[in-house]
Subunit: 494 residues, 2 copies
Amino acid sequence: MTAHADAQSALHAHLTTTAALSRVAGRLSWDQEAVMPPKGAEGRAAEAAAMAAVLHARQTDPRLGEWIAAIDTAALDPAAARDVALTAKSFARASKVPARLATALADLTTRAQGIWAEARANDDFAAFAPVLAQVIALKREEASALAAPGQTPYDALLQDFEPGANAADIAALFDRLRAGLAPLAAEAAEAGPAPALTGAYPHAAQMALAREVAGAFGYDWAAGRLDLAVHPFSSGGRGDARITTRVDEGDPFNCLYSTIHEVGHAVYEQNISADVFGRPSGDAASMGVHESQSRFFENAIGRSRPFAEWLAPKVRSAFGDAAPASPEAFFRTANRIAPDFIRTEADEVHYNLHVMMRFDLERAMIAGDLAPGDLAEAWRARAAADFGAPAPNDRLGALQDVHWSVGLFGYFPTYSLGNLYAAELEVAMRRDLPNMDDLMAEGDLAPLVAWMTTHVHRHGSVLPAPALIEAAIGRAPDEGALLAHLARKVRALA
Amino acid sequence: MTAHADAQSALHAHLTTTAALSRVAGRLSWDQEAVMPPKGAEGRAAEAAAMAAVLHARQTDPRLGEWIAAIDTAALDPAAARDVALTAKSFARASKVPARLATALADLTTRAQGIWAEARANDDFAAFAPVLAQVIALKREEASALAAPGQTPYDALLQDFEPGANAADIAALFDRLRAGLAPLAAEAAEAGPAPALTGAYPHAAQMALAREVAGAFGYDWAAGRLDLAVHPFSSGGRGDARITTRVDEGDPFNCLYSTIHEVGHAVYEQNISADVFGRPSGDAASMGVHESQSRFFENAIGRSRPFAEWLAPKVRSAFGDAAPASPEAFFRTANRIAPDFIRTEADEVHYNLHVMMRFDLERAMIAGDLAPGDLAEAWRARAAADFGAPAPNDRLGALQDVHWSVGLFGYFPTYSLGNLYAAELEVAMRRDLPNMDDLMAEGDLAPLVAWMTTHVHRHGSVLPAPALIEAAIGRAPDEGALLAHLARKVRALA
């Protein structure tokens, strides 16, 4: 064999084993949030830290640099070439973070998540603030290590979730989005929201409905499972893409739309081509693209007027008279546009305001302009400005999201990028599927999922995210499609 | 610091990280058997193999030999000295097995378990035989690598489960045990078994009863959980010791006694001293000692006449008229002594015959005297001799146990050693707790668990298994206590 072939073969073996170990670490996180008993937390911190150290050692193995240098990427197929490019990038990233710091972050965030869950249950922000300060201190240290010359620490963190993005561009985009959202929120407020649901919705009926709906969206039950978690998430890929949800017996839409959202993530993972499974090019393209799928499933399909024709009778048969009486009533209730303190329950208009608030607060914390101990107060002030009232407690305020406890800074803006991509993808899909509304009304979502698999899912990250989205929609995305989608919805509800 | 102190500190750090990674690998096995969706199997094989390779590299790290040589064990406390001794032993063992073989075994047994589960579901031994032959080929290769001069391959494998034991001694012990069991089985057959249960026992009621009973046996629910598995097992330790069970709606005793059995294993793990958690001396002493706890919980307590006073009314309230009408009827039904094709459902007399059969068959397969493809036929012949009839199918025969599919050869004899230790421990416990029968009748098992924690659980493997048992019972164990226990039970049922 040539040096090129030797290096390519050694790199491939190294990467597939690293990917397998990374799946193990991911499974361990799922276990912690979905099934671990409380006293498992202490031993688990050491376990997560040990796995992080193993992965860090593999990701910074000096042989990676040698193999990459010896490989002639021009001789490779696109996926293999992309494996090399992505590895070169992650090798450079991982080499900048000292092993001590990587291990400390894994250890700390495992503990911090447990503290957050308890603080949230007790509405006790003071119990969370000290460990949040520790997480931010380590994330700032990590960001400084990662930042290129002239790059802000926050932009350095952002690369983990939306490669190529920067906070200044996002802030400008969010300003344009906010300018379009404000009149829509006002227009919706004028019409007044549909009445909220007030019945009792038994746990078992909610879970049975969630399972049925997940199946209709193409979720492969032989390649996944559904469990409960404080904060719903999806985990894993292809043959084992698990989802979690939560149940509020006073609000069936919490479980229903959390499930559809996570199904969007999981179906994406299940449909990535087997050819690239277990390789860097088999990962999803970006967090924004991932979120475009969950939000497309949740909103473009799940909250559409046509799909209500299929879904409303299912909900009615699950909950009887406690459910909306007609598809039209269901559509209005599912799209109740009104300020809400909880991001994951916010309507499509206010959801983006939630994201922008977190984007601003986390940038301020990473920049050192907002002390973590002042977060709850800052949150209340911003919520008062954006939603008309301060959050009545920190469970509905600064303690509501898991993200910061586990060190995810730079993740939140990808939610709104996802909304924006989802709206663009819907426009493109309607070009190819002019009968999309009829299909949704019949609950026949397979053609929609097939379109998405063809244009997005199967590619993994063989294409960079911007190129993938541009190829799917035919041009660079902007905020116009999302604002047009929201305007149509607000007017349909008037 | 001295060279001794440096080496001791480096060894300790290495061992606690290795233990954490080993817990991760154990959790991955739990996941596979308890919660993994079917299509997860293919990716999982690579994950298990990758973890095995990581662990093998750590267990054969040449620095272990250097640290061990530099440490003055006379300067250490007993637990730290034992850590060094156990590490020296496992280092020698792991160094003998090539990494290629360790990885291949992990990969193969992960696949083989999936094939076994499907073959068992379909009663299709022919579908399992080829992969069983592959597992045995690799186990024979491993045994040859491990065997000391003059040691048989089977004895080399036995050391993983019952250190210091050898097949010749066990065969002699089993001969004496068999000589005592035969007349007891005949005596029980003469009396005839109690009528079997014939009602319907709903899944949910069985699981609720299992949970209540597990709690009564001291299982700490904050440090564990209960799930379903094809073949019940326990997994993990201290803060996260999980159990699994199975439900047969025609037989509530299957779930009930499987649960109590696994609770015996898990309570042992939960009660190992925190001082030695996450270190070699914090592991359980041996598989035989582990099994002594599960069998003590299951039989000495769970199937005793006094405990029936507490348990029978609980079973009655779970299942109504389908349950035995009185504690005496319950006791007789729970101790139905009659040949049964399933080991885990066999009564205490026939259980040991099951173990002896597997001990003989696995020795023959490892020795090369029995071809894996001939196992089902050999099983039928032996079952006919020991239980009066050949197993009517392979699900009730050679396919019933998970052990061989996952490469556990040398494990089965520890089940009967566990029965023998359990009987000895009961004799010793009764000396200290003369009111043990009254406590069981009241369902007050805490003093029994506390005695066991003092004499067995908390010690982990700070003492070698034989020394631990001798310290607990006051002399070397033999088969006498077990035969006396079984004779009393057979006569109580006459």
